[in-house]
């Protein structure tokens, strides 16, 4: 193992500014969309009094949980002593901070009264998981910045492990808190399930890693830096494990629901005749986000090709957005069961007449707002790696640490 050297991202200036220009254009569109929605009111969005959180929240929650997942790479190195991951720690921290910023911006820009953000900062109701999340999110940013300092500064090196452990525990709390936004709601059939918190933790590992791998591979390819087969193998196997974990928790969530008769209606609707939501679940979440990437990752030939691994990462991200749409939008669209054993024949407020789901049709401004959050995350990342030393010069097999998984037992034996 050689010394790891970190260098700024040295792509040609024209390419750098082109990337920034495209991202800035997306952010500008999102800003316009925000101004439009706030000026006219939310009636221009597809959201309504039944589906109160829509496409912006799909992007926001995805980015927030992917942020905590991205930090996982650094944790594996610092907390779990896997030196092969050490060169990836800095990018892991940067992506975590960047995606959290992007996600939070989307969340705030969608508020009915965004100008009252100061109210949210000065009035707290501590029985609200939302209020706790404000501290979890800001705390996460501070801890990640401190973590990056311990990784990059010689003086900070001594604090690397303690800060790394705090960051790891904090990110677990953060994702648990995000999952609990939904898990603690007793009102709706799809929520009110404690398993949503661990489910969110596991899928955050997968989404964060998928984003991390795509950014890493793209950045290295553009700058002609080598990534060895060893580290690729480790990363894609880890992704496979997380994706499989997500599928397992999803399975248990639905099995639990199916066991009790009171949730039969919801499960029947979501799994068989929920229209768009059923499609999003089976095709988006299970197939694109789960089975296809797993097929690629564990395929004997495809799993060795970088383009296929990138495809698997892309599928996990698309599937992740579909999963978020099922969890956030699908769960609201299913009518609240206020009168068990009765059918609602008429209602002045869309209470699920004859079991009908609430309508929701996403609009362009909502989509732009969500994409704006992604663009903000990428701008922070691109500028970060360009001006600071986040990326290692090489991840070639002879540079990265020994892969302890491939070593025989004798390598771990104490010297005589």
């Amino acid at each position: 193992m050689k010394r790891i050297v970190y260098r700024e991202w040295r792509i040609p200036p024209t390419q750098f500014w082109s990337i920034l220009g495209i991202l800035a254009a997306v952010v500008s569109m999102a800003t316009l969309a925000f101004g439009y929605m706030e000026h006219t009111g939310h009636w221009v969005s597809g959201m309504n009094n039944s589906v109160v959180w829509g496409t912006p929240h799909v992007f926001a929650v995805f980015l927030i949980i992917a942020a905590s997942g991205a930090l996982n790479i650094a944790s594996i190195s610092t907390v779990f002593h896997k030196p092969i991951y050490k060169p990836l720690g800095r990018l892991s921290g940067l992506l975590a901070a960047a995606m959290l910023m992007g996600g939070l911006l989307v969340l705030v820009m969608d508020l009915g009264r965004p100008e009252r953000l100061i109210v949210a900062m000065t009035n707290y109701n501590f029985s609200s998981i939302f209020a706790w999340n404000i501290f979890l999110y800001t705390g996460f940013l501070i801890i990640v910045i401190a973590y990056l300092w311990t990784m990059a500064d010689r003086q900070g090196a001594a604090f690397n492990r303690p800060v790394g452990i705090i960051a790891f525990l904090w990110r677990l709390a953060l994702t648990t808190g995000t999952g609990s936004i939904f898990g603690f709601l007793v009102a709706r059939q799809a929520y009110d399930a404690a398993i949503l918190a661990p489910l969110f933790v596991v899928i955050s590992f997968a989404y964060g890693l998928a984003v991390f791998m795509l950014v890493l591979i793209y950045a290295f390819d553009e700058d002609n830096r080598p990534i060895g087969a060893k580290i690729m193998r480790r990363l894609k196997n880890l992704l496979g494990l997380f994706v499989a974990g997500g599928l397992y928790f999803t399975l248990i969530y639905h099995l639990t629901n199916l066991y009790g008769a009171k949730n039969d209606g919801f499960e029947l609707w979501l799994l068989t005749n929920g229209g768009m939501h059923t499609f999003m679940f089976w095709v988006g979440s299970v197939l694109i986000g789960g089975l296809l990437p797993l097929g690629i990752i564990y395929h004997p030939e495809l799993s060795k090709e970088r383009n296929w691994i990138m495809t698997a990462c892309g599928l996990v991200i698309i599937g992740g957005l579909a999963t978020m749409s099922v969890v956030i939008i699908g769960s609201q669209a299913y009518p609240i069961q206020m009168f068990p054993g009765q059918t609602i024949l008429e209602s002045g407020f869309f209470d699920g007449v004859n079991g009908a789901a609430a309508p929701y049709h996403p609009t362009i401004p909502e989509l732009l707002l969500g994409l704006g959050g992604v663009a903000v995350s990428l701008i922070i990342t691109v500028v970060g790696v360009r001006v600071l030393q986040f990326l290692p010069e090489s991840l070639a097999d002879d540079i990265v640490a020994l892969d302890e998984e491939l070593l025989g037992e004798e390598a771990f034996a104490k010297p005589a």
Binding site: H42, R113, F130, I336, Q342, T343, S347, D351
Partner: protein, 264 residues
């Protein structure tokens, strides 16, 4: 001496002008000193200046047997009382979509029992839970419960996150999706905030009896909704609750709702 006696006589004589002056002066003094006290006392007695106490708990009892299918008097009255009828659909909006976005504090719901086929009609509004999920989840404390049991939104603290709407088991809340024009002084509303039935809180604060929906239902001769103090054993609502079987909607959630239903 004689002069003195004269003077005395003069003094003894009644001076009507002086008396009139003293009378006016006394009257003015009394008015200036006592009247403010009287006025202050009157203001003190105005209910809206007194803190709300938990000596009362306002609630509703809805007798579905008396609720008439096709009647929307309670909904219309609520709209007029709270100015919801003043909010118009944005010109460019599709009617069908606006229907899903316009506010509704109370709505009529018609049900049919899957097993028996029995039909029920009822008004549905905020259930004014004793343990309201909307208050639990609100990050800023904008969603709050008054001491007298009324659950409502502080429109100055609401940031429009809609988490309370996610949490309400009765789908009782509305988000103001568009501009609001020509508001009522007693019910200020604003774009981007969440709102719901507050048991005509403006009437409570002026010591008025009843709510708009109750009055409208009574005016139609149906008397399906009764408003009153759930803590006062002599109130009509308590006596009725003692006499007839009633229940809470989604009582499995144990929210101890302030709105009770009979015949559901």
């Amino acid at each position: 001496m004689g002069k003195i006696i004269d003077m005395k006589d003069d003094n003894d004589a009644i001076d009507p002008q002086r008396r009139a002056f003293l009378g006016v002066a006394a009257g003015v003094t009394a008015a200036v000193t006592v009247a403010p006290g009287v006025l202050l006392h009157t203001v003190d007695a105005a209910p809206r200046a007194e803190p709300v106490t938990s000596d009362v708990r306002w609630g509703l009892l809805i007798d579905t047997a008396k609720c008439v299918d096709g009647c929307s008097a309670c909904v219309d009255a609520c709209h007029h009382e709270n100015g919801l009828n003043l909010q118009t659909m944005p010109a460019e909006q599709a009617v069908k979509k606006w229907e899903t976005q316009k506010p509704a504090w109370v709505r009529k719901v018609k049900l049919q029992d899957n097993q028996t086929g029995r039909m029920t009609t009822l008004p549905l509004m905020c259930q004014h839970c004793d343990d309201p999920p909307c208050v639990d989840v609100c990050p800023t404390g904008a969603s709050f419960k008054r001491a007298d049991g009324i659950v409502m939104v502080d429109r100055h603290l609401c940031i429009g996150c809609r988490y309370c709407m996610m949490a309400c088991p009765y789908k009782a809340r509305s988000f103001i999706h568009g501009d609001v024009h020509g508001q009522l002084t007693s019910v200020p509303r604003g774009k981007g905030c969440v709102e719901s039935c507050n048991l005509c809180v403006q009437r409570r604060d002026f010591g008025q009896e009843s709510t708009a929906c109750v009055d409208a239902c009574a005016a139609e001769g149906h008397h399906a909704i009764v408003f009153g103090d759930l803590k006062d054993p002599d109130s009509t609502i308590c006596k009725l609750l003692n006499e007839m079987p009633s229940r809470q909607l989604r009582e499995d959630l144990v929210l101890n709702t302030g709105v009770r239903y009979s015949g559901v």
